[in-house]
């Protein structure tokens, strides 16, 4: 907001004396430097009127007073329009209201005899407390007053207050009044924390000033000093309660200027606590005593000035005590301030960005001040002493806090690397930083150049990889402005408002919340919780979350821009190509999964397939799912509903099954138990010959079940598993069992193959070769290997030579081919030549037109490398792929082949000959290249490839 020089104050008569009885206050409220204007003129005229027109009726008197009050507000509005500073107007209003209040009191006193009047004046006092005592008043603020009296005039004072209360009400003053003796006031303040905090500011308006002095002394001694810790805790608790009803979050988009987080009340909280410790609540005095740093003090004063002016504006425009900065008001004020539009940011968004930058600064300074001055109980101090221990040379660790002796501070906090080391330790030990450390970091950070070095990048990524306190640490880095030093782009989203009905928070707050929500998933028994726990590279997910909205505030689509920014940022952070790819992908597609999940038919295989193709790996999908859930939840309370959670979980399950060949893992234990029981029942005889035999059978079953892939276990019905195990148990070396079955409903034939381990090498490509040569169209397959290396494969095929039921004789014939093929009595090539047909194999043009894509994924599984192939289906495709894997010397542990329309998604879990996962980048690249090459060759030549 522009701060214009006040030139027009001389219009008011500044020569008037301050109202009677005004004494030096406990609060030397910062009133600026201008001479205090008073409403001398109106005050004088009111007095004249009240003396000359003693015959006026009560109604006329009320009317006259209301007009006078109206005049005060008009003057305030005029001052405001002329550009006076908020604090000047507040201070002027305070004086005007003092005078007005005193005048009403004097009017009431006229009904008392002169003796009574002087009795009252000598033995009681009208004292401004709270906001009035502070001397900061908005046009429609309540007046906080207290009457203090000597016990001996109790009757008189009770007569006075009985009369004066209606007079105040009639005059339009909303009064929070109390009547006490000095002793009584202190007792009440102990019982009523709200009164206690307002007694921090005391200013005599009328009467015997000694009483005010007594009140101050008694209050400080009995209520504050004698019970400092309780007083402080009461203040904090009261403030927390107030905040929870008026917005616990400072960046809620319609903040309360007085009560939300980072509002004026947080400055008051700081002042109350300062009073408890230093007997002053004046910001400048606190600075002089080195309790507030000069930066903090000036930041606070600027914030108070900004908020005060906004608050006065809100009051004047509403014509009542309105402290809520609603969206309509934001628009109005932004326009009145003539803020210009800049690219991608509306005036109202720029205004609110400034608003939030003030409120966030206030919140941070106040919270830090509070936590630093929070008293400790004797037991906790003892515990601290006992529990604390040194961490390396300088740090002390205790009760969830990392601290450092003041003498060490200059040694440990000079560079960005130092600072990140501190944060790193905090994240590692799962503790937060002491206020002292935060102050040191903040003041160092101010003078550091931005941009990470290799070492700071490493530290930052490690901090992001810690689970549990990552979000707390990042939030603290945000508070101390360290985050911008690592990611300069963060500066742009700080306090950035999105002016629409959907978002509840500014971009930075939204982002930090997303990170907190995301970490919270770790504890959640839900699909999202499981996905988060199973995510390997959590640091990449966390980084993507921090960056997902970084592109906001420009004209361009924020996903596109954000993706480019993420690329720069990742390169600066020295991530490798693979990691950069993941982060950029997540930022780029962060809206897509929700968009599809909530607006499209996610049971449609085409939607699932196309998006799987776009995502490309299970690990990326997992991260995108968690990011999407966190992003939607972070928009605001109540946005992530069970309805949305269900839809997204269902979509995730379908995508995950496509991409990894496995359904996502949750409730796995329970299912395993179920299978185990079923298999025990069918394999272990009801009445075993001996318990020993039964036990050894059970052990054998356990070993087998442990050895099977989770794919096989989740996909196969328990009776089938029992049957397979029965076969495996009786399998002799060299045995091959093929069981073919026609399923009338689906019109497909399933060939279930169980073969001794000697056939496992190359077995898969031989079976697919045989089936292809016999003109079977392979729709799907599940391939797994038992504990002892026994092949357990199922192929789902359509026998294209039969339009209806496939006769058993034909099935047996094909089964024989499979056996011959596995025994290598016949090669695929021979069979292709034998069953060759002319000109019947022309392939159709693909309907979906997705490009062929091969992904080698080393992130998803710990034991194997995953080769993922998306391709247009045509006869012989599976044979080509499996033969290529064989030629590459890869062994297939597990595979899932699926077809949607004419598009194939094949997932292979492969290892090298010795059963080791392939991780080398060169090797992965060569697998990918070789596969693409073979697929292109196949695309050109199709069948000719197999027979030549």
């Amino acid at each position: 907001m522009r701060q214009r020089e006040v030139t027009s104050l001389c219009l008011f008569d500044c020569a008037g004396s301050t109202p009677s009885g005004k004494s030096a206050s406990v609060v030397a409220a910062s009133r600026g430097t201008i001479a205090l204007p008073t409403i001398f003129i109106s005050y004088a005229s009111m007095r004249t009127v009240s003396t000359t027109m003693s015959t006026e009726t009560p109604a006329e008197r009320i009317q006259r007073r209301k007009q006078a009050l109206e005049k005060i507000r008009e003057r305030a509005a005029k001052l405001f329009a002329e550009g006076a500073q908020g604090m000047q107007i507040a201070s002027w209003l305070s004086d005007a209201m003092d005078t007005y209040t005193i005048d009403i009191l004097k009017g009431t006193l006229e009904d008392f005899t002169e003796t009574e009047q002087s009795e009252l004046e000598q033995n009681s006092a009208m004292i401004a407390i709270g906001g009035s005592g502070r001397g900061e008043v908005a046009p429609y603020s309540d007046s906080d007053l207290i009457f203090i009296f000597q016990p001996r005039i109790a009757d008189l004072i009770s007569r006075l207050t009985k009369k004066i209360v209606p007079d105040f009400w009639d005059a339009g003053i909303k009064l929070g009044q109390r009547v006490h003796t000095v002793r009584d006031a202190a007792t009440s303040a102990i019982a009523d924390p709200h009164l206690a905090s307002s007694l921090v500011y005391v200013r005599t308006l009328w009467g015997n000033d000694d009483l005010a002095t007594q009140l101050k002394t008694q209050f400080y001694r009995k209520v504050v000093r004698a019970r400092r810790r309780i007083f402080v805790e009461d203040c904090i608790e009261g403030r927390n309660e107030e905040r929870s009803t008026h917005g616990a979050n400072g960046q809620q988009l319609e903040p309360d200027v007085k009560k939300s987080l980072g509002s004026l009340r947080d400055v008051h909280l700081l002042q109350w606590i300062a009073f408890a410790h230093y007997q002053t609540s004046d910001i400048d005095s606190l600075r002089r005593r080195n309790v507030l740093t000069p930066d903090d003090a000036s930041r606070l004063k600027r914030g108070v000035e900004f908020l005060t002016r906004v608050r006065i504006d809100l009051h004047l425009h509403a014509g009542k005590a309105n402290d809520t900065l609603s969206k309509d008001e934001q628009l109005r004020i932004a326009e009145a301030l003539e803020i210009s539009h800049v690219e991608g940011q509306r005036p109202v968004e720029r205004f609110m960005q400034e608003y939030f930058s003030h409120s966030m600064a206030i919140a941070e300074i106040s919270q830090r001040f509070v936590s630093r001055h929070r008293g400790r109980t004797i037991s906790s101090t003892l515990k601290r002493l006992v529990m604390s221990h040194r961490v390396n040379r300088y740090f002390a660790l205790s009760e969830g806090e990392l601290d450092v002796a003041p003498s060490h501070l200059p040694k440990i906090c000079n560079t960005l690397e130092d600072i990140l080391k501190i944060y790193h330790s905090a994240a590692m030990y799962q503790v937060s930083l002491s206020p002292r450390l935060i102050e040191a970091i903040k003041s160092t950070a101010r003078n550091l150049p931005s941009g990470p070095s290799p070492e700071t990048s490493r530290l930052f990524m490690e901090i992001l990889g810690t689970v549990g306190l990552c979000s707390v640490t990042v939030r603290s880095m945000h508070d101390t402005n360290v985050l911008e030093l690592v990611i300069p782009e963060w500066h742009r989203v700080r306090c950035l408002l999105q002016f629409n009905q959907y978002h509840h928070f500014t971009v930075d707050e939204h982002t930090l919340r997303c990170l907190e929500i995301c970490e919270g998933f770790a504890e959640e028994d839900s699909p999202v919780g499981a996905a988060y726990r199973n995510t390997h590279s959590k640091q990449l997910l966390h980084l993507a979350l921090i960056l997902h909205d970084a592109g906001k505030g420009f004209e361009e689509d924020h996903s596109e821009l954000g993706c480019r920014m993420a690329l720069d940022i990742c390169q600066r952070l020295k991530l490798n190509q693979h990691e950069i790819g993941i982060v950029c992908f997540l930022v780029h597609k962060h809206l897509k999964m929700a968009d599809l999940g909530f607006r499209y038919d996610t049971t449609d295989p085409q939607v699932v397939l196309e998006f799987s193709h776009e995502v490309g790996s299970a690990e990326k999908l997992r991260m995108l799912y968690v990011l999407t859930a966190a992003d939607v939840s972070g928009v605001g309370p109540g946005v992530w509903t069970a309805w949305k959670a269900d839809l997204l979980a269902d979509f995730y399950k379908r995508l995950m099954t496509t991409l990894s060949g496995l359904p996502p893992r949750f409730h796995e234990e329970e299912r395993l138990r179920e299978i185990r029981e079923h298999v025990y029942d069918s394999i272990v005889p009801q009445e075993p010959e001996s318990e020993e035999i039964a036990n050894s059978l059970r052990q054998w079953v356990d070993k087998q079940l442990d050895g099977f892939s989770s794919q096989y276990l989740t996909m196969t019905p328990p009776p089938m598993i029992a049957r397979d195990l029965d076969i495996i148990r009786s399998l002799e070396p060299g045995d091959i069992r093929v069981d073919g079955r026609y399923d009338q409903i689906s019109g497909t034939t399933d060939y279930h193959v169980i073969a001794d381990s000697q056939y496992s090498r190359g077995g898969f490509h031989r079976i697919s070769g045989m089936l292809t040569a016999r003109h079977m169209k392979i729709l799907g397959a599940e391939i797994t290997t038992s504990f002892d290396g026994v092949i357990v494969d199922t192929f789902h095929v359509i026998d294209e030579d039969f339009s209806g039921i496939v006769p058993q004789a034909r099935i047996d014939e094909v089964a024989d081919s499979i056996i011959q093929g596995l025994r290598q009595e016949v090669t695929a090539k021979e069979l292709f030549q034998k069953y060759r047909r002319f000109a019947t194999e022309a392939s159709e043009t693909p309907t979906m037109g997705l490009p062929t894509r091969v992904e080698v994924d080393t992130d998803t599984s710990d034991k194997s490398t995953i080769v993922l192939v998306f391709a247009h289906n045509r006869p012989g495709l599976l044979y080509t792929i499996s033969r290529t894997l064989f030629k590459l010397d890869l062994s297939i542990d597990l595979a899932r082949i699926s077809t949607h329309f004419d598009q194939v998604v094949d997932v292979f879990y492969v290892t090298d000959n010795e059963g080791r996962k392939i991780t080398s980048k060169e090797k992965c690249q060569s697998i990918c290249d070789r596969m693409m090459e073979e697929l292109e060759k196949f695309e050109q030549s199709t069948y000719r490839e197999f027979v030549s």
Binding site: F598, R599, D646
Partner: protein, 112 residues
């Protein structure tokens, strides 16, 4: 006046909304709901493991129209929301005795 409540598939919402706009019906209330009818939490044989989803996510659309428009609106919703499969949803129609626009106090057809 008639009150029309339609339970439809969530992804049909945009289409239904646009369809209704085309025939001149504008105001409506949309709620995310979960429930089941004959589709009864599709018992999915999911890789051998049978599991039941009790409540399926749907969208509830509520609109109030004049007697004249009711037929058109129902026809439009039926046409657009239909896929032909179980789970397409249902439309409930009730007679409505009064509508009041809070801001102006207008009643009946005026308030629609």
């Amino acid at each position: 006046m008639k009150k029309i409540e339609a339970i439809i598939r969530h992804y049909k919402l945009e289409e239904v909304k646009n369809g209704l706009n085309e025939i001149g019906i504008q105001g409506m209330t949309v709620t995310e709901v979960r429930g089941f009818g004959r589709q009864r939490g599709h018992k999915e044989v999911y890789r051998g493991a049978e599991y039941t989803v009790d409540f399926l996510p749907k969208v509830k659309l509520e609109l109030v129209v004049s007697e004249d428009d009711a037929g058109k609106a129902i026809e439009k919703i039926t046409e657009v929301a239909r896929t032909g499969n179980i789970g397409d949803g249902k439309i409930f129609v009730t007679d409505l005795s009064e509508v009041i626009r809070i801001r102006t106090g207008e009643t009946g057809g005026e308030a629609l």
